[in-house]
Each structure stands twice: as C-alpha cells, then as structure tokens.
Amino acid sequence: MLRDAWLIAQKDLRIEIRSRIITNQIAPYTLLILVLFGFALDADIETLRDTGPGLFWVSILLVAILAIQRAVDIENSDSAQDRLLLSPVSSFSIYIGKTLGLFLQLLLLEVLMMIAMIALFDSSVDDFLLVSATGVIATIAIASTGTLYGVLATGLGVRETLLPILLLPVLAPVVIGATRAFGDAFGRVNADGWAWVGLLSVVAVLYTLLGMLAYGQLLEEA
C-alpha cells in the first residue's frame, strides 16, 4: 500500500520536475511575495524580523493554494484521474501519495523561502531543530488538508475561487501554531515553541485521518 503511495508521489514529482512550473513560476512567486512584504513594511528591518515568521507562513499558504491546484490539474488533464481510478491502486494509497508529493514540493519551497527570508530580513535561527520540526509537521497538515480540499473543489467549475475560501479558514490554527513556534525559534517572541509543535501534530494527525476517510468517496465522484 505504501509502495503504491510512493509510486503516486513519484509520478507527481516527475511531472513537476519535467514541467518545471514549481521552479520557474511558483518559486519566483514566493520570492516576490517576500520582496513585496519588504516594500509594504517600509523596509524596516526590525519590523521585518518581528513579523517574518507570520509573513513566512502566510506566503506558504498562498503558494500552497497554487501547488494544490497544480496537483489537481495533473489528474484532470487527459482524463488521467479516470485511468488512476481504473488502476489497481486503493484510494488510500492515492491520497497518501498525492499528500506526499505535495508535502515534498511545499517543503522544497519552504527551504528556498527560508534562505530568502534569512538573507533579506537578516534573521537568525536560534533553534534549528524547532524550525525543522515545525516546518515538517505544519507542512503535513497543509498538504493533507490541501489534498482533500483540492479534490473536494474539483469538477464544480469554480475551483480557483472556491478552494481559498474553503481551505484558508480551516488552516488558521496551522498558521497560528507555526508562526508562534517559528517566532520562538527565531528568538522574536517569548513562547513555548514545542507546545505549539504539539498542537500542530494533533492538527496534522486529525486532518490526515479525515482525509484518509473522505478522499476515496470524493475522488470517485470528482
């Protein structure tokens, strides 16, 4: 089952590597968001350092919406989804595979964005382990929810506008938790970052379980 999931993830990643949309379009978009935040906040380096964790996760959410829509488009083009459903792969494996593919893409974008943020905002990381744990767990939550909501908004003709309004409020706890944990890791706020990682873990597990339960039924009708 997990081997099938890995095959699905590999398929998605291979398509992304070949199309280069992530590297040529979405990654520059992430950088652009950070630069625009710099302009909007009047290039005050202290303000940018203080707000950096929040700006980082808001940017990731905006980028995640693009990545989710890409992941759905891959299956919609050339009736690829019908062939996927005809293949002897369970919907559980498809969900895990799609989530894994999205997770790895988002993680790559987060690494690029982190480097850009450290360079542009002159930020320093106090607790690298906390940053890594927060990044991984928050991204699992975003990817699992995004994969479920991606298929949920498919086939209705209004996916581009419906997906953000459905997804963003649900991910509000992830933004709050990840921002606080990053704030602690960057030494900008006095908070217990690891407690936030605990909350993020609960959210990630819960959303992944919900996705596993609902994805199969929704996929067959999408």
Binding site: G157, L162, P169, L210, L218
Partner: protein, 260 residues
C-alpha cells in the same frame, strides 16, 4: 410536515406558536433588558447587550454542531433529510455568528475601548467560524449534482464542527490571555432580575433558532422535492420525445400514414 406539500406555505401550528412566542417575548426582553434591569458597576449600560449577545453566541455554536451532526448522518444514512438539516442550520448559524460579532464589537467599544481585540479567544474563534461557514455556504451555492454537492458539503460541515475546539485552543494559547468576561452564567455574579433577563434571552434565542430552522428546513425540503421532480419531469419529457420520434420513423418507413 403536512404543509410542506403546499408550495406556498412552510408554516404549521408549531411554527405559528413559536412565532407568537417571539412576538410577545422579544418586546418583553427589550423591556427587561433596556428599562427594568439595573446597569452594571463596571460595564454600565453596555451590559444590556449581554442579554442578546450571550444567547446568540450559544445558539451559533449549537447551529454549527447541528450542521456537523446532520453532515455525519447524511454520509451514514445518505438521506437528503439530514443534508437539509445541516444546510438549514449552517445558514442560521452564519446569521447568529454575524450578530454575535456585531453585538460583540458594539459592546467592546465602550467596555474595552476598541471595536476589535485580537487577543480575545472567543472573538477570534467566532470570526474564524464565521469565515468557515461562509465557505461551507459558498460550496452549497455551487450549481452541481445535488448528491455530489451534498456529499462534499457534508465533509466540509464535519470539518467545520471539528475545527471549533481546535481554533479555540490555538487562539487561547496564541495570546495566553483574554479580555473576555468569564461565563456570565457560571461565575455567579448575576442575580434576580439580571439572571431572569438573561435566561429569557436564552429561551427566546432557542425558540428563534427552532422557528427559523423549521421554516428554512421546509424551504430546503421543497427545493429538494423540486430538484427531484424536475429531474423526473425532464426524464419523462425525453422518454416522450423518444417515443414520438420512433413512432414518426415507423410511419415514414411504412408509408401507410398509420400509427402502429
């Protein structure tokens, strides 16, 4: 459910009774809240909003939980009845949520000296809930196959209901403080007339929720029936067209001018 068959009427004895209760109860509540109860030592006249704000908040959450329950039962039983319950309750929950935010802001201005306080757990939780309900209802408005839409809305409805404690917990940790009053019902500060007025507000909000819910449910049920009958009607038309065209073909082939 008798009157549901009449497309011009969603009322019944029960809804008329609830409507009468509200007609008498709301002016009574206004009388008690604005004239008969004393002002608070700290909140002064702003306390009068509490008689509307607190009951609305409680029933906004009741409405969302009902949506969650309706969604679970729809996925389990595949019954449009439960889907209609979930949809109706979400719409009323959105109205109650909006009223809670508006009355909360009006109350917060003189009490906290601000229209909005990001550090308050319940305020931010209610706002996120309001946004999630907007998303849920946006999905419900999308023109699609009714069963497909109901199934997807049910998944979102369950997630919205599950999210309430998560958002609440995260916002509570986020600021680790709240300006919000402790529960007015449990802290024991309310007495006599004030407590009576608050309970009157609670009862009326409950009746209002049930009244709106019954009417909205019946409108939703009528919509469901129209959708079903509409689909059957179209099918019957197509069958009739198909029969007519095959009859014409037979007439042409035979050239006899008789319908066989």
């Amino acid at each position: 459910m008798q009157n549901v068959r009449n497309p011009n009427l969603t009322s019944s004895k029960g809804t008329r009774f609830m409507g009468f209760l509200l007609l008498v109860g709301v002016p009574t509540l206004v009388l008690f809240a604005f004239f008969l109860t004393p002002e608070d030592d700290n909140m002064e006249d702003a306390v009068r909003l509490l008689y509307i704000h607190v009951p609305m908040a409680i029933f906004a959450y009741v409405a969302v939980i009902t949506t969650g329950i309706g969604s679970i039962f729809y996925l389990w039983k595949k019954s449009r009845w439960w889907d209609t319950v979930a949809h109706a309750s979400a719409e009323i929950g959105l109205i109650f949520c909006g009223l809670v935010l508006v009355t909360g802001s009006i109350w917060g201005r003189p009490t906290w000296n601000t229209w909005w306080e990001w550090g308050d757990v319940r305020l931010v939780t209610t706002l996120v809930l309001f946004l999630m309900l907007l998303g849920y209802l946006a999905l419900r408005q999308v023109p699609a196959n009714p069963d497909l839409r109901a199934k997807r809305a049910s998944v979102v409805g369950i997630i919205v209901a599950i999210n309430i404690p998560i958002v609440n917990r995260s916002v509570e940790w986020w600021e680790n403080s709240t300006l919000h009053q402790q529960s007015s019902l449990t802290d024991g500060k309310l007495e006599d007339l004030t407590l009576f007025t608050l309970f009157l507000g609670l009862i009326l909000a409950g009746v209002c929720y049930l009244w709106l819910m019954t009417h909205r449910f019946r409108v939703g049920w009528l919509q469901t029936e129209i959708e079903n009958e509409g689909a059957i009607g179209v099918l019957q038309e197509r069958i009739a067209e198909g029969t007519a065209s095959s009859t014409e073909t037979i007439i042409k082939e035979d050239g006899e001018g008789e319908v066989r």
